[in-house]
């Protein structure tokens, strides 16, 4: 039996989190099949077959699957489930939305957000906002798992030699009406995969001030993130949020500006390689996890930081 990975994509590109999920799947079994449900996604299927360890891409290509509606995608997975020992999806809002539906109908206890594969039935996952790590063993015959993307290497996009299998699946009923999406567009790297992330918190005080981070982000080719308080205050959209109930990031460099370092924020960034904290309160808990702390007023620091980076760039040139 093989492992099925549900692909997250936009009909032309596969999301990098799916590559991490295939990476995790490779640690369970090298025999991997990918399910691609979308609309006009044939070209994408032909790319996915080249991913390392992917033996087959099962494609359901139909206008009714233009948008990833959980209620419509889950039945497809359920109809295929017999062929697989494990069914995996990324622990993104896409995967989290769909996979528990599959698990419930198949009467399987899903294992959410794994960060490590110990064996075919045993996995490690964070609980309590990452303040504890649970090693758990599934006693169900089939395993249904969501994978924390940042905890696994991405599978190589070349080197595989799988085949494409087209199937059709007719929806019995479509009860969900998709109204629309508002995606924030940005030329900066994606938050989940950026090498450098600079995040702002309530200390930034306003949306205008928050954009001070952009100048630095551009110089470092960084993604911009935020604390929940900054999102709640309306400085930036929810897609910026880092933490227990936002995104998990593991960049080489994480710069926290005007963020106190609540446990729920740390849950999303404390695995970063190097952490910098800029905060005017020397008691701020963020300093306990920072490799480099700067206790100062961010409104003085940010322009200087930007200027120092300019100097650095001129020297390099």
């Amino acid at each position: 039996m093989s492992v099925l990975v549900l692909a997250e994509h936009n009909n032309t590109e596969i999301k990098s989190s799916t590559l991490n999920t295939i990476g995790a799947a490779s640690q369970i079994d090298q025999n991997i099949e990918v399910l691609l449900v979308g609309n006009s996604c044939e070209d994408l299927a032909n790319k996915i077959v080249n991913i390392q360890n992917v033996n087959k891409v099962i494609v359901v290509d139909d206008p009714q699957y233009q948008n990833p509606i959980a209620e419509n995608i889950a039945p497809i997975i359920i109809s295929l489930a017999n062929n697989y020992s494990h069914i995996l999806a990324p622990a993104t809002t896409f995967g989290k939305n769909i996979l528990p539906r599959v698990a419930a109908i198949l009467d399987i206890a899903q294992i959410s957000d794994i960060i490590k594969v110990e064996s075919k039935d045993t996995f490690v996952r964070p609980i309590y906002a990452g303040n504890a790590l649970a090693t758990v063993q599934s006693t169900d015959e089939k395993k249904i798992i969501t994978v924390r993307p940042t905890s696994f290497e991405q599978a190589a996009t070349e080197g595989g030699s799988g085949e494409v299998e087209k199937i059709t699946f007719d929806l019995e009923k479509n009860i969900v009406e998709f109204v629309g999406r508002e995606e924030s567009k940005s030329d900066r790297p994606e938050l989940g995969t950026a090498r450098v992330v600079i995040s702002g918190g309530r200390g930034l005080q306003s949306a205008e001030n928050f954009s001070m981070l952009n100048a630095i982000a551009d110089k470092l080719n960084a993604a911009v993130g935020a604390s929940r308080a900054a999102v709640d205050a309306g400085y930036v959209g929810n897609d910026y949020q880092v933490g227990q109930t936002g995104k998990v990031v593991v960049p080489d460099l994480y710069i926290a500006v005007g963020i106190s370092g609540a446990i729920q924020h740390l849950a999303g960034m404390k695995e970063s390689k190097v952490i910098v904290a800029i905060n005017k309160d020397e008691e701020a808990p963020i300093f306990n996890v920072a490799d480099f702390g700067l206790c100062a007023d961010l409104f003085e620091v940010l322009p200087k930081f930007s200027a120092e980076l300019d100097k650095l760039n001129t020297i390099q040139k």
């Binding site: 419930a104 206890a109 609980i127 504890a132």
Partner: protein, 249 residues
């Protein structure tokens, strides 16, 4: 219309979690417990729908040990009309919780079931989706806005890329984000009133649901600790350190 709200009793979000030295779990003795934070948003939303005249009754349900009653009382003090407690002697996994909720939904026939998007203890983020699938209903997960029309709800969902809107015909399951609303505090008179509101009791056996765990927790350990680093004097030093010591810029 009735609204059913699922509220879970969890370790309060301000508590510093301690892993037990024998690796069997986390310390829960003498630890402050509270309603799971997004479940407060779920209760608040249900009350607002009722106050707008679109629902007649809000029922709060919790599954767990005896003390889960306290969490139900909190919901009643906020304004829920009555409670349901399904007793269990150990932590019940999301799948079994979803099956219990399904049974209660079949009895109570609510048009809307509200849950939190995630319990902050197990961080599973499964129960609402599972319940919705078992019922064959539509789901609006990670909701930051719920607008009701005569026969459908328009739900704004927080997704990784931004926001998504879906229109779902009743009956529906929705899971709530903390941004959905600002939960109210229970006033003293309401806390007193809540003591007289009824709570129905069930056991999982009575409902015919097997709650034995499917997932064995082999051990619970502390995550690796991060060493506290150094404080730098100014921006110039910071940039030098990042460039030459950490080599990340």
């Amino acid at each position: 219309m009735k609204i059913l709200v699922a509220v879970k009793r969890v370790i309060d979000y301000n508590v510093q979690i301690r892993v037990k030295s024998d690796s069997t779990g986390v310390e829960t003795e003498n630890v402050k417990m509270s309603m799971n934070p997004p479940d407060e948003n779920a209760v608040e939303e249900a009350l607002r729908i009722k106050e707008s005249g679109k629902a007649e009754e809000v029922i709060a349900i919790s599954i767990g040990e005896e003390k889960a009653q306290e969490t139900i009382r909190t919901a009643l003090a906020m304004g829920a009309d009555r409670g349901i407690h399904v007793k269990a002697t150990h932590d019940v996994e999301p799948l079994a919780v979803a099956k219990i909720l399904q049974k209660i939904v079949e009895k109570e026939k609510p048009q809307i079931v509200l849950l939190g998007k995630q319990a902050i203890d197990d961080d599973s983020n499964q129960t609402g989706q599972m319940l919705s699938a078992l019922l064959g209903w539509a789901q609006g997960t990670f909701a930051s806005k719920i607008e009701l029309e005569a026969s459908a709800a328009i739900i704004t969902r927080e997704i990784d890329e931004g926001l998504e809107k879906v229109k779902l015909p009743f009956p529906i399951v929705a899971t709530c984000d903390l941004r959905l609303n600002e939960p109210r505090y229970a006033s003293l008179p309401n806390i007193m009133k809540a003591k007289k509101k009824p709570i129905d009791n069930y056991t999982s056996d009575e409902l015919g649901i097997d709650v034995s765990p499917r997932v064995r927790q082999l051990k619970v350990t502390e995550p690796p600790k991060r060493e506290k680093g150094v404080m730098v004097a100014d921006v110039a030093e910071l940039v030098q350190k990042l460039k030459h010591e950490a080599k990340v810029i």
